[in-house]
Assembly symmetry: C2
Homo-oligomer: 662 residues x 2
């Protein structure tokens, strides 16, 4: 009897363990839901899936996110830095739009950077950022720089990931808008800026009835000088294209290194005019069943540029279309229908193109493209560009659903494509060298996961590099409708974190993240361990624009001074908890004021601000930074300057008086 | 034998239930941790507390946050809208700083609102927002409006909570900075804007050696016209004060309705000048053991203003200090040491003041203040203001720890004070009518909860109203140091969600939320159910600035047109998925262009953008909205305008050409 009871006991004890998924009742989470949490889950109506999702996204107080997403901010003009899996915004980087919290564009060094983005001499203080790109070494993110384009004005910005701040904005001298930027070549030799809506070169005037002859497409290869951390326009060049609307691009890697690929639309040469009885753009540009995948040999293009075969237009080297054709830099292949996206597989073997009005993605083989070019029996488009027939270039097509836009990859041989019209993420299986990584048939749809709603781009963990990860994809949804509390007619976007760690049809939505300050288009996700940001600036007196010691640094409080020369007053000021030196600055009305501020702080997070009342001036002075402002004291009166970053218990007392004598 | 085995089985079955906190293994969260979640918790090293916190903060995909926090954005110049308990940012409202995602200040209606904030005729396109205030009815949030001040330039903004957008910015004509704003009276009769650093009236020039005679403090009572949704300067007035630095204010309610209270510092009249061998401000302003709590009778002040006893200075009515004293509007009472915060208990009986350099909060009794005023045996400060001795006004002092700043309340008779130097939230028990709500001794410290790090303000669920809730407080921490992945020398702030639902010493930190685009000072948290925002604008052709039908609305696509009058070209355009009408706009160089755009959309979230390449123009056109832009086409060429909000599968095709003939 005893023996049987003991066996029963042992069996049931085992059952307890199985039932609870681990050890006894009072132990932490891994072995059973704590009583507090059980009560909360019940009270809040959480399902088992919710609990799972909560666990998977939760980053405990003080623990660091292992992945960092760098997302465009769309028409906010900025770039968002988001931690994963917590989906928390760590920073909104000021890029094309001034942002005073970080002191960007309000009197300090950001002013000169923003001035680089003038259009026709006019300040354009916003941008439509689209596609961020992290610098790469051997096709893998190296965590040093990020690049982003401004679709609205054809501009490119360089962000230094040592301090996650913008260092350069450059205006494309020959285009007025772009879309397919920024994309880097595998060793960041070039940053590719594709165009969008065709225009005459340098956006000169030409009527629309001269569209076919005078309007052009244009792709720009910006040479990146990694040592200087700047794009070098003198070593950059452009390639003239037919006035199709080149859209998204991706660089080859591995076997396809040296090439890049852009999708395009409007081979119809539509010019709109619904008010004139013509088809609206949305109809006119989608009439044809195919447009052209653009296939570029950038290594040969660089040689052509170096050989002086480019024309200078508005100071920029342009390889004209006829030269590009003659030199064999440019090939086309048809792509169905209303194409979007051009994404190269991790090993560089294939290019995936979506078709907004086609239920398939089309997969092109780089080998087949090369073979067709070598065979040389190609047709031509209306501008004389050689065209590789689709059946000669295509490896496969996979039917996914409605509105396939953009594709990323994982480490399990799967691809993930956003389906805008289906509001879904499609997981599908790759073929070729990837076929043995997954159990499914090659080139087949594996799962369609509904997302909420209208997904645009999709981002995966290093999912556009040679070495993708396999934990998460993020659905960058454009509409949120009913997903968040109502705060009026302008709704946030909805980023959804999707767990892709299990194969087959086991993708799950884990989390909804509203984005209520930006409309990100694309994002890249990097392992945090690849980043090596400064904790504080390397030394006292650091100029964050030049990333070197500032000649106007004030290294000791005793060296602070005010010097008048004629009607110029120059101030060398120190900043440390909790006072400025000097605390009284007296000038006369009309004086020209040059003011250098140096933080003497070395403690992490000991940032000070500097606001000057009545002026459009606010600085963020992180530990060690030197900033310079310059203005005319054009109004007599009593003003104050004060610290805008809550630095200490006596932060409110950190101020000075700026007295302007009449 | 069988019987015993069955008993053992039954007992163990019960044990399983207890061990798992409910039913069997495969059921949802409330009854046991799902296997997926258990594995994740173990893999991610989550403790039982982490699991609890994750459950408590998680808002499942598609469920709505029940609470909305409206937080200042500090030197970003904006206001943040955050859902609780998920701590997700739902919107960053453009207030003092232009923000293109929401089309604020880039050619549309926001331009005129921002122009209201000019200082000395100069555009100041940022602000240092400090204290948001939701409109109240009977001392409880009514969810209609929010107000926020700009410390850097003494400005006030009005936000309409029907569309969560800014409607008015007004410049204080007699002050150059403020701090203690915005605070509303219990029925939003007035919005109180307290000052900060003293200056001559209208910030005229006066040297610092005339500080005592010429510098003043100044509090402003902005009359709010609820029907118009605007502050009415003609019905507003100011009260001149001694040049102490008035800081934070709060309005009385219930028995103390009609009064308001501001703390102050710098009764020392320090003027800084460390470079001249004088004590720095941080020392000079903290020399005295006490400063003055300012006690205002605003109902009487309104009568004095109505009776014409105010002087007009720069167009604004000012009750001079001598009048305020003579009319019995203003009293002082000492407050220890380096005071910060002035917070009225939910029932209006007490005022709580923190002292940054005093370990106590000091609680003043409104009844005792009234009795002392009635008794009339008061001293005077150096400017003649009657002073109520501290021992006559004080109800209690509670020792909390280092750096008490600001206090909010709950529904359980507790107060919560932020301790900056201790980096802690102090929960303490109220006395008087609150003493029977909690088991603790009245006026005693109950718990000190560490937070990370350096908490400034603190916000509780409706915790500064007559009807506070009891679920959460949010610690608005100023430093985050090591709490988030490193993204360079400028670190985010850290909002921590604290569970206060259980009494006694059971407060818990649930969540860390980085704030990487703003440095919020104060926040208010409202129940979402009190808000009644529009889902779409009420009708096609809505002007969001005037909140009424726009005379330039275009109600049907057929009515779209372009009309030239001399060198003015006026365009009436319609906007709907996925085209603009017209799609071709032709002007001549130098033409003056007036462009009206009306969204014909009625579907929620069907927002369009409108960017004009090469111009500083971007609009957000929510369903039903009409916007107008105006500019000179000063450069010939070919430009495009396009939709910046990803609206549909053919969003990229939503564009037009803007042709400027030479």
């Amino acid at each position: 009897m005893k023996r049987i009871a003991l066996v029963a006991l042992a069996l049931l004890a085992a059952l307890v363990l199985v039932a609870c998924g681990g050890a006894g009742p009072a132990t932490p989470a891994a072995s059973g839901l704590p009583a507090d949490a059980a009560a909360v889950a019940q009270a809040r109506g959480l399902t088992a899936d919710d609990v799972y999702a909560a666990m998977k996204t939760y980053t405990p107080s003080g623990k660091l996110d292992p992945y960092i997403m760098i997302a465009s901010g769309g028409q906010s003009g900025q770039v968002l830095v988001v931690g994963l899996p917590s989906m928390r915004i760590l920073k909104v980087i000021g890029v094309f739009t001034p942002e005073p919290w970080q002191g960007y564009g309000f009197g300090g060094s950001g002013d000169a950077i923003l001035a680089g983005g003038k259009v026709n001499g006019k300040e354009v203080l916003w941008g439509d950022t689209h596609h961020p790109s992290i610098s790469e070494t051997n096709g893998t993110y190296d965590g040093q720089f990020a690049f982003i384009n401004d679709k609205a004005n054809a501009r490119l910005a360089v962000i230094d990931l040592r301090d996650f701040s913008t260092k350069q904005i450059i205006k494309n001298p020959n285009a007025i808008n772009d879309h397919g930027g920024a994309f880097v070549t595998p060793n960041t030799e070039y940053v590719i800026e594709g165009p969008q809506y065709a225009a005459p070169l340098g956006w000169q005037y030409a009527p629309l009835d001269q569209y076919k002859e005078k309007y052009v497409g244009l792709v720009t290869l910006w040479k990146f000088d990694r040592l200087k951390g700047r794009v070098d326009p003198s070593q950059s060049f452009q390639i003239e294209l037919p006035p199709y609307w080149q859209d998204l691009c991706d660089a080859g890697k591995g076997p396809s290194d040296g090439w890049f690929f852009c999708n395009s639309f409007n081979s119809e040469l539509a010019v709109g005019g619904v008010e004139l009885g013509q088809p609206p753009f949305e109809a006119g540009t989608t009439k044809n069943d195919t447009d052209y995948l653009h296939i570029f040999n950038w290594k040969k293009a660089a040689e052509v540029f170096q050989a002086g075969k480019a024309e200078k237009i508005n100071g920029m080297a342009v390889i004209r279309l006829k030269t590009a054709i003659a030199e064999g830099l440019l090939y086309f292949s048809p792509e169905p229908k209303s194409p979007h996206g051009s994404d190269v597989t991790p090993g560089g073997e294939f290019i995936v193109v979506g078709g907004k009005l086609d239920p398939h993605v089309t997969i092109y083989s780089f080998d087949k493209i090369m073979a067709a070019i070598k065979a040389g029996e190609l047709g031509k488009d209306q501008y004389g560009v050689p065209v590789i027939p689709l059946n000669q270039a295509m490896e496969a097509q996979v039917e996914l659903g409605l509105g396939p836009l953009h594709t990323v990859f994982d480490d399990k041989g799967y691809a993930y494509t956003s389906l805008f019209l289906d509001s879904a993420v499609a997981r599908w299986s790759l073929g070729g060298p990837y076929a043995n990584k997954h159990p499914e048939k090659a080139w087949s749809l594996v799962q369609k996961l509904p997302v909420q709603y209208n997904i645009g781009h999709i981002a995966a963990l290093e999912g556009d590099t040679a070495t993708p990860g396999g934990q998460y994809v993020v659905a960058l949804n454009k509409w949120s409708i009913d997903r968040f509390a109502n705060i009026g007619p302008l709704l946030p976007q909805n980023f959804q974190l999707v767990d892709i760690s299990k194969g087959g049809d086991q993708m799950k939505v884990l989390y909804d993240m509203p984005v209520g300050m930006a409309e990100p288009h694309y994002a890249q996700i990097i392992k945090a361990e690849r980043l090596k940001p400064f904790e504080v600036y390397p030394e006292i007196g650091w100029n964050a624009e030049t990333m070197s010691k500032d000649p106007n640094a004030t290294l000791k409080q005793e060296d602070a001074k005010v010097v008048r020369t004629g009607n110029t007053v120059e101030i060398w000021m120190t900043v440390i908890r909790s006072h400025y030196v000097p605390e009284q600055v007296k000038v006369k009305k009309g004086d020209h004021v040059i003011w250098h501020l140096t933080s003497l702080e070395r403690a992490r997070d000991a940032t000070h601000g500097f606001a000057l009342s009545g002026y459009n001036i606010n600085l963020s002075i992180e530990p060690g930074k030197t900033e310079t402002i310059e203005f005319v004291a054009d109004q007599a009166g009593t003003y104050s300057y004060f610290c805008t970053e809550f630095c200490s218990a006596l932060h409110l007392e950190m101020l000075g008086y700026f007295l302007v004598e009449p």
